[in-house]
C-alpha cells in the first residue's frame, strides 16, 4: 500500500462522492455553530422547507457577541441580544443542543468542543468560524466554513470541498525558557508570511511539537489559518489520549477502548509524500511580538522593525500602528492587555499569566481584560486560586466569551491605544476602530501588564 499522510487518511474515509471536475462531497462528523454565522443558514432551511438532517451532530454556543460582565442580566445591545435569542430559538426549533449564556458548559466554541469531549481524533469538524482549525490539535480535519456551507451541513451533514494540498511543518529541537507555543506559531507565520500556506492543510510534527501539551497544541493549530492554511493538525499520541481520558464524557463511553485502538492508525505513514515540507529549529525561537497589521508581521521581541518591502501596504500598516522601520518595540508603552480568545484563553494560558504576575502588581495606566475561554476554564481558575492571585495583583477575571478578540461586544480597545493581545489577529480595527494590536503570548502579555511596557518575559522569569 502506498504510504499516506494523516490528512489523506481522514479525508479519504469521509469522501462520499467525487464530483466530476474536482470537488468532493465530504461527510462531517461534528458541526459547531454560534450566533453570528448561523441565523442566515437557518433561514435558508426555512426557505427550502427542510429539517436539520442530523441534529445530534451539531452543537451550539453563544460566544462572539456576548458581554463578559454581568452575564446574568439581559444583553444590553439590542442587535446582539436579538442575535443570541435567535440562536436559542433556532436550536429549540431544530432540536440542537445549545449551551447559552450562563450555562455551565458555555464558552468559546473552540474551547468547549475539545474540553467537553465533542472533538475526537479522526473526525471531520466544521464551524462557521475560521479558527475551527484549533480542533486539529486532536488529529482531526477541522476547518472554518461560510454561512452557505453551514446551511449545507445542517441540511445534509455534508459539504462540497476541493481537496487541499498537504504540507508538513517539522519543528525540531527544544524551546528555550519563556518561549511558548504562541511564540512558536507566530515565528512560523513570520517566516512564511500570512499567505504562505494558502491552499494547504498543514500537519505539524517534530519533537518540539510532540512536546506540547494539548492546550499548547490547540494554540498552534488555531493560528494555522493565519498563514493562509485551510487548517492544521497534529497526530494524536499519548498526550492526546491522556487528555481525553480525563474527560468524563469520553472516558465513560462504552466504545472508548475500541476508539483508542482505531486511533492508532492516525499518523502519517513512513515515506508519505507531502506537497510541501518545511523545517524549523525551536531553539532559534524567541518570545515573539507582531508590529504590523497582519499576523505575518512578527519579530523576536528584542528585534528591530524591518525596512519592509516598500509596498504601500507595508507603510500603511506601520503608519496605522504609529511606528517606523528601524525602531525597537522593547520598552514601548502599552495601554491595554488582553488575555483570552480561542488562541490563549485556556487554563494553561491563565496559569502562565498568573505565574508571571504573582507577587507583582498591575502597572499603573494599564487596562487589563483577562477573559477565560469558557465557564469551565473560569471555574477551574477559581478553584485553582488563579482568580484570587489575579485580584491580589490588581487584575480581575471576567466572564467567558470572545471579547476583545473581535470586539463585537463592549470590550473594545480605543482608537490609537496599544494593546498587547494573546488573540490571533492584529488586523486594522479588529479590536475596535483604530485600535493598535500587538500579538504575543500570555507570558509576554503578563510582562507588559506588570511593567506597562513591552518587556522581554525572560527577564522577569526567575525559575
Amino acid at each position: 500500500m502506498t504510504p499516506k499522510t494523516l490528512f489523506d487518511k481522514i479525508w479519504d474515509s469521509h469522501v462520499i462522492r467525487s464530483i466530476e471536475g474536482g470537488p468532493e462531497v465530504l461527510y462531517i462528523d461534528q458541526h459547531y455553530i454560534h450566533e453570528v454565522t448561523s441565523p442566515q443558514a437557518f433561514d435558508g432551511l426555512r426557505a427550502r422547507g427542510i429539517p436539520v438532517f442530523r441534529p445530534n451532530k451539531t452543537l451550539a454556543t453563544a460566544d462572539h457577541n456576548i458581554p463578559t460582565i454581568d452575564q446574568h442580566l439581559p444583553i444590553r445591545d439590542e442587535l446582539s441580544r436579538n442575535q443570541v435569542n435567535r440562536l436559542a430559538e433556532n436550536c429549540r426549533e431544530y432540536n440542537i443542543e445549545y449551551f447559552g449564556l450562563n450555562h455551565p458548559k458555555n464558552g468559546i466554541v473552540h474551547v468547549i468542543g475539545p474540553e467537553l469531549g465533542y472533538t475526537l481524533p479522526g473526525m471531520t469538524i466544521v464551524c462557521g468560524d475560521s479558527h475551527t482549525s484549533t480542533h486539529g490539535a486532536f488529529g482531526t480535519i477541522a476547518f472554518g466554513i461560510g454561512t452557505s456551507e453551514v446551511e449545507m451541513v445542517l441540511a445534509t451533514q455534508c459539504i462540497i470541498q476541493t481537496r487541499p494540498k498537504t504540507m508538513r511543518i517539522k519543528v525540531n529541537g527544544r524551546r528555550g525558557k519563556g518561549v511558548t507555543a504562541k511564540d512558536m506559531i507566530l515565528y512560523i507565520i513570520s517566516q512564511i508570511s500570512s499567505g504562505g500556506a494558502t491552499g494547504y492543510f498543514v500537519e505539524f510534527a517534530g519533537p518540539a511539537v510532540t512536546a506540547l501539551s494539548m492546550d499548547e497544541r490547540m494554540t498552534v493549530c488555531n493560528m494555522s489559518i493565519e498563514m493562509g492554511a485551510r487548517g492544521g493538525l497534529i497526530a494524536p499520541d499519548h498526550t492526546t489520549y491522556e487528555y481525553l481520558n480525563k474527560i468524563p464524557a469520553v472516558e465513560s463511553r462504552p466504545d472508548f477502548k475500541s476508539m483508542l485502538l482505531r486511533w492508532r492508525i492516525l499518523k502519517s505513514d513512513e515515506g508519505a509524500v507531502f506537497d510541501r515540507e518545511l523545517e524549523f529549529d525551536a531553539s532559534k525561537i524567541k518570545p515573539m511580538i507582531t508590529f504590523g497589521t497582519n499576523p505575518g508581521m512578527g519579530m523576536g521581541i528584542d528585534e528591530t522593525i524591518p525596512e519592509g518591502d516598500n509596498t504601500s501596504s507595508f507603510s500603511k500598516s506601520l503608519e496605522y500602528m504609529g511606528i517606523r522601520p528601524g525602531m525597537k518595540l522593547l520598552g514601548h508603552p502599552v495601554d491595554y492587555v488582553f488575555v483570552g480568545s480561542c488562541t490563549n484563553g485556556r487554563i494553561d494560558d491563565l496559569r502562565s499569566f498568573v505565574k508571571m504576575v504573582k507577587g507583582r502588581k498591575k502597572a499603573p495606566g494599564i487596562t487589563a481584560l483577562i477573559v477565560p475561554g469558557s465557564k469551565r476554564v473560569e471555574q477551574q481558575a477559581i478553584n485553582e486560586g488563579i482568580a484570587e492571585a489575579l485580584k491580589l495583583a490588581g487584575f480581575e477575571l471576567r466572564q467567558p466569551g470572545c471579547s476583545s478578540c473581535l470586539a463585537m461586544n463592549d470590550d473594545k480597545i480605543p482608537a490609537g491605544k496599544y494593546a498587547i493581545s494573546t488573540s490571533n489577529r492584529n488586523f486594522e480595527g479588529r479590536q475596535g476602530p483604530g485600535a493598535r494590536t500587538i500579538l504575543a503570548s500570555p507570558l509576554t502579555a503578563a510582562a507588559a501588564a506588570v511593567t506597562g511596557r513591552i518587556t522581554d518575559p525572560r527577564e522577569l522569569l526567575n525559575d
Binding site: G21, D43, S130, G146, C158, T198, M408, G429
Partner: protein, 200 residues
C-alpha cells in the same frame, strides 16, 4: 434554490491597489449582528470609507465619483482573515459581481462562489498593469466571460484565461447551489452513515 446566473459581464472597475485586504476591513465585526443577508453593502469597507466621526473619507476609492462599476480589482491575498460570509454579502450588496486579484484567501473564494460573486485570478504582473491602467483611465471597461474563462480589457485587450473549478462554473452558469446538489444525493449520505456504523 435558484439564484442569478452569471455568464458575461462588461463593466468599468473600481481599483483597490492594496494587498492582504482582510475580512475585518471588508466588513468590520461590529456590523455583524444582523440576522439577515441584506444591507451589508452600506458598511462595506466602513472604516476606510468613513472617518471616526462618520464623515466620508474623500481619499478612499469608493468615495471617488470617477470610479464605479461591478468589478472590484484588488491587490493580492484578498479576503484573508475570518470566515464571515458577510464580507461577500457586503461586496455583492454594494453592487459588485466580480472581484479580480492575483490571489484569494481560500474561505473567501468559497464563500464568493457560493453566493454568485465571481473571484477572477489573474497573474500578478497583469494585475499590476490593470490597476495602473484603471488608475489612470477610470473609464476603462473590462469583459469577463465565464463560459470561456477569459478576462480582457475592452475593446481589444489580449484576453487572459482564469481558472475556475468546473463544478462551480456549472453552478454559476446555471444559477444552482450546493445545497440542491447535496439534497439530491441524500440516499448516498445515509448509506455512508450506515456503512460507518457497521464498521465500528
Amino acid at each position: 434554490m435558484k439564484r442569478d446566473k452569471f455568464d458575461i459581464l462588461e463593466s468599468t472597475c473600481v481599483p483597490l491597489p492594496l494587498e492582504n485586504v482582510d475580512t475585518d476591513q471588508i466588513i468590520p465585526a461590529r456590523f455583524l449582528s444582523s440576522t439577515s443577508r441584506a444591507g451589508f453593502g452600506e458598511n462595506l469597507f466602513r472604516d476606510w470609507r468613513f472617518d471616526k466621526s462618520g464623515n466620508r473619507n474623500n481619499d478612499f476609492v469608493l468615495n471617488n465619483p470617477s470610479f464605479k462599476g461591478e468589478v472590484l480589482v484588488a491587490g493580492k491575498n484578498f479576503g484573508c482573515g475570518s470566515s464571515r460570509e458577510h464580507a461577500v454579502w457586503a461586496i455583492s450588496d454594494y453592487g459588485f459581481r466580480a472581484v479580480v486579484s492575483s490571489f484569494f484567501a481560500d474561505i473567501f473564494r468559497n464563500n464568493a462562489l457560493n453566493n454568485g460573486l465571481l473571484p477572477v485570478v489573474v497573474p500578478e504582473n497583469y494585475l499590476n498593469y490593470l490597476l495602473d491602467k484603471i488608475g489612470r483611465e477610470p473609464e476603462t471597461r473590462v469583459k469577463i466571460d465565464l463560459e470561456k474563462q477569459s478576462f480582457s480589457v475592452l475593446p481589444d485587450g489580449e484576453p487572459v484565461r482564469f481558472e475556475i473549478n468546473p463544478y462551480k462554473k456549472e453552478c454559476l452558469l446555471k444559477g444552482l447551489d450546493d445545497v440542491d446538489y447535496l439534497l439530491n444525493i441524500k440516499e448516498m449520505i445515509t448509506a455512508y452513515e450506515f456503512r460507518n456504523t457497521l464498521k465500528r
